[in-house]
């Protein structure tokens, strides 16, 4: 029992300190602008209680005391309450302190407004009491959720996540629903600001039930599906693809121009991710200078198509320029790949990092200014024209980007399961054994580099067209890091992972522009949390998962022999 209480106090303290931190950087006041439930409470005001809930949940999970010990109901609830009280007391105490001494000269965000948000607009005493007692109750609630049977627990968590997500994304969901012409649905779920109480409850129940249903019946559905004759299975599969394609193709028609811009950006990053995934995920070559290819692609298309290219302006059509650009980047990939062939691991990473910077500096240099415009860049990159339709608008440019993504994803999938993909995987696993097994590692490294470069170049070309100009300042190392981060987040080597990673890491920040000052903070939190909880990424490919969860599997090694590939794998432990 004592270890549980100790852990509960620590969890609560961590949660409390985290909330204080978020408050002092200003995020809580900012989040107060968005209502979770319209006119009842804002997202900002519930954050301390969400933290208490998480701490309570955490403190009722099984704990390793010699063996893995599951807490009894009383212990769990008591630990949860303790964790919640600790969190609430810390937040309440700090709020009370801020209210009493006004430290605004030092801590600019410790404003009266913050106090008001945290105290729910009540007086100092009642507000603090509310935080402490509320923390206690919510902490116990969190513990209660944690000791529910796993499928129900999961369903509850999914329901909560959906409600929170809907509230955060309200403007966009509204836009989409209005665009689809079903404003009534929108009005059921949302008020002008925040969710309708009834809508929120329905969203919670429906998503929780949907998750529970899929968890309990999913296997049966899958079994029935794989029991069908191949022809029928094929047609189900095809209709699935058809529906997916239809949704993808019709998206720009109702999402509006702002969302379409975000979609375009996500698409370009998916393309970059797919390219870098070949190099890093498939072949295992850590390339930190990937932006170089992106830059070369962007500049090549600008030079080839823009009338204001300084020295050489053939003004080709976009469709002719693109193959040329891909060829150029493939050659650049080979050129950069050759000297670094002998380097492995860290050394390769450092050298490619250097190449990325060299590319940017060359584009900026006086030497290249007569040809590439130096810091002024190249303007007036024309939009592609398809059968007389100008594709400048983001809603239209979406289509060539979508096409490029589909082609790139299909190419990556084909390669992954082929002789070439196996050679890459073998090389990533053990380069000298791969060589001793008959793989020409030099050739396959260069192939990975130049294919990755080609995808990057294509992404760069689309980027230049989307912006309508190219500046060296935009093509910096942050792009390389973002692309690498999205691959890691999604799951290295996994193609669905790249797509999810791009949506989470590039799409969400585009949508949550109003919080853009907190972007890097959230980035950091997300990445650290991922590395702790799910190091293999959101949608890992099978092997990566096996590698990183080796320790967990030791215990159930015998069961693994019977486990079929399709059946559900254990949930990652929240420890």
């Amino acid at each position: 029992m004592r270890p549980f209480f100790r852990r509960a106090m620590i969890s609560g303290a961590v949660a409390g300190i985290a909330v204080v931190h978020l408050a002092l950087v200003g995020l809580i006041v900012k989040l107060d602008d968005r209502d979770l439930i319209a006119n009842v409470f804002s997202i900002g005001t519930v954050i301390p209680f969400l933290a208490a809930l998480a701490a309570g949940f955490r403190s009722a999970t099984p704990m390793r005391i010699g063996a893995l010990v599951r807490p009894g109901v009383t212990t769990a609830l008591a630990s949860g309450a303790l964790a919640g009280v600790s969190a609430g007391a810390i937040v309440g105490g700090v709020t009370w302190l801020i209210d009493a001494v006004n430290p605004r000269d030092v801590l600019v965000n410790a404003s009266p407004q913050l106090v008001q948000v945290l105290h729910w607009g009540l007086t100092a005493g009642t507000g603090t009491l509310l935080l402490v007692i509320g923390g206690l109750l919510v902490g116990a609630l969190g513990a209660g959720i944690a000791i529910l049977p796993p499928p129900i627990r999961r369903a509850v968590l999914v329901g909560m996540a959906v409600v929170l997500g809907l509230a955060l994304m309200q403007t966009f969901v509204t836009q989409i629903l209005t665009g689809l012409g079903i404003k009534a649905v929108n009005d059921f779920f949302f008020a002008r600001d925040g969710m309708q109480p009834l809508g929120a409850a329905v969203a919670f129940v429906v998503s929780a039930l949907a998750d529970y249903g899929w968890r309990s019946r999913g296997d049966q559905v899958r079994a029935r599906y794989s029991g069908l004759p191949p022809v029928q299975r094929g047609s189900i599969w095809l209709s699935g693809i058809g529906i997916g394609l239809f949704v993808l193709l019709s998206l720009p028609l109702f999402v509006g121009s702002f969302l379409a811009t975000a979609l375009d950006t996500v698409g370009i990053y998916i393309l970059l991710g797919l390219g870098l995934n070949i190099v890093v995920g498939f072949a295992g070559l850590l390339d930190l200078g990937y932006v170089a290819f992106y830059a070369v692609g962007a500049y090549s298309v600008a030079v080839l198509t823009s009338p204001s290219s300084p020295a050489f302006a053939p003004q080709l059509s976009f469709w002719i320029a693109v193959p040329v650009v891909m060829l150029i980047t493939a050659v650049i990939g080979l050129t950069i790949g050759t000297p670094v062939l002998r380097l492995r691991g860290d050394y390769l990473a450092i050298v490619t990092l250097g190449f990325g910077e060299i590319a940017r500096i060359i584009f900026l240099s006086d030497w290249m200014t007569p040809y590439l415009g130096g810091a002024q860049g190249i303007l007036q990159v024309p939009a592609p024209n398809f059968l007389g339709i100008d594709l400048r608008q983001p809603e239209r440019l979406y289509y060539p980007i979508l096409l490029a993504c589909i082609v790139a994803a299909a190419a990556a999938i084909s390669l992954a399961s082929s002789r070439v993909g196996r050679a890459w995987t073998a090389m990533r696993e053990d380069e000298s054994v791969a060589e001793a097994t008959g793989i020409n590692t030099t050739k396959y490294k260069l192939l990975a580099f130049s294919l990755g470069a080609t995808f990057g170049g294509l992404a760069g070309a689309l980027y230049a067209v989307r912006i309508g100009s190219v500046f060296p300042q935009d093509l910096n190392i942050i792009v390389s890091i973002n692309v690498l981060a999205l691959i890691i987040l999604g799951g290295i080597g996994s193609i669905p992972g790249v797509i999810v990673g791009a949506i989470v890491l590039v799409g969400l920040p585009e949508l949550l522009r109003e919080f853009s000052e907190f972007r890097l903070l959230v980035y950091g939190i997300v990445l650290v949390a991922m590395m702790l909880l799910r190091p293999e990424g959101i949608l890992p490919n099978r092997s990566r998962r096996a590698e990183l969860h080796e320790a967990d599997q030791d215990t159930d090694d015998d069961d693994r022999w019977k486990q079929e590939s399709g059946t559900e794998t254990a949930e990652p432990a929240i420890i």
Partner: protein, 274 residues
């Protein structure tokens, strides 16, 4: 390249049918001579063993045969083709397959994929073909899968393991899988580096039987590094003994068993022993 090969072949003076011939192979690491003037021949369809105390230079010699190390001087011919200067993957293509002393599988790949990687040099799919999934590429994949399954059968890996991660296989099966991977390239010569290391007597007996079977069924030659004298004496037709990087004896198991220099190398001089 062609002319280079031709002149080198001309140098391979005696026209014999040896699968592998090593002439005066010497390798130095700085001042240390790890192999000195080793002459070595493997006749077709034979099982030859290389033995010697720890540090005698056996694995070093192996690594020169497979191109992982380059000899300081001397020459090596596989079926009359000189292999000096070739990279390991080219030597695999010429027909040498190998396993490693400490098992080195591709752990994150399935059992089947491990064997299919071994087949790499005998496949023709280009990256363009793979990307477009051309019919002949898909056909080749099917044939390769079939071939890989046959090889798994041959080395005695039960059906049902092929989709498992290589890392999850029991130790003895990992050894077998490594052999299947080496066999997938259709080698003329199979090099086994301590195939029974770490095995219990039952597993060792199985492995010994397997080595004999492989030679009979696949018509290849096998070169074995092994410490277990029961295995060596039971399975080999010829034995070569290395000590301090030099060849000190060569002959049939009977000859080696009674050779005084070999006994000395393994047990030390009589005088020291008493």
């Amino acid at each position: 390249m062609a002319t280079e090969t031709d002149t080198a072949r001309a140098r391979a003076a005696p026209a014999d049918d040896a699968v592998l011939r090593a002439d005066k192979v010497t390798i130095r690491f700085g001042g240390l001579v790890a192999n000195r003037d080793i002459d070595f021949v493997i006749p077709p369809r034979s099982i030859v063993s290389l033995i010697g105390p720890n540090g005698a230079g056996k694995t070093t010699f192996f690594n020169q045969l497979t191109g992982m190390l380059q000899p300081t001087s001397g020459a090596i011919y596989l079926d009359g083709h000189p292999t000096i200067g070739l990279s390991p993957h080219q030597i695999v293509e010429l027909g040498i397959g190998r396993t490693f002393q400490n098992i080195r599988l591709f752990n994150e790949m399935t059992v089947l994929a491990n064997v299919m990687v071994g087949r790499h040099v005998r496949m023709g799919a280009s990256w363009i073909g793979s990307l477009l999934r051309l019919p002949q590429v898909r056909h080749e994949e099917e044939i390769t899968t079939q071939r890989a399954l046959e090889l798994l059968d041959l080395v005695g890996l039960d059906r049902g393991y092929e989709g498992e991660w290589a890392r999850n296989l029991p130790y003895g099966y990992q050894r077998r899988l490594e052999i299947a991977r080496a066999l997938a390239s259709d080698p003329k010569l199979l090099l086994l580096d301590e195939p029974t290391a770490g095995m219990n007597p039952g597993e060792t007996a199985d492995m010994t039987r397997l080595i004999g079977e492989l030679r009979d069924k696949l018509n290849l030659s096998i070169l074995l590094i092994e410490h277990d004298m029961k295995v060596v004496m039971g399975v080999s037709e010829r034995i070569t003994v290395l000590d301090y990087g030099e060849k000190i004896a060569e002959g049939s198991p009977e000859e080696i068993r009674t050779n005084p220099r070999v006994i000395e190398a393994y047990l030390g001089k009589q005088a020291d022993a008493s």
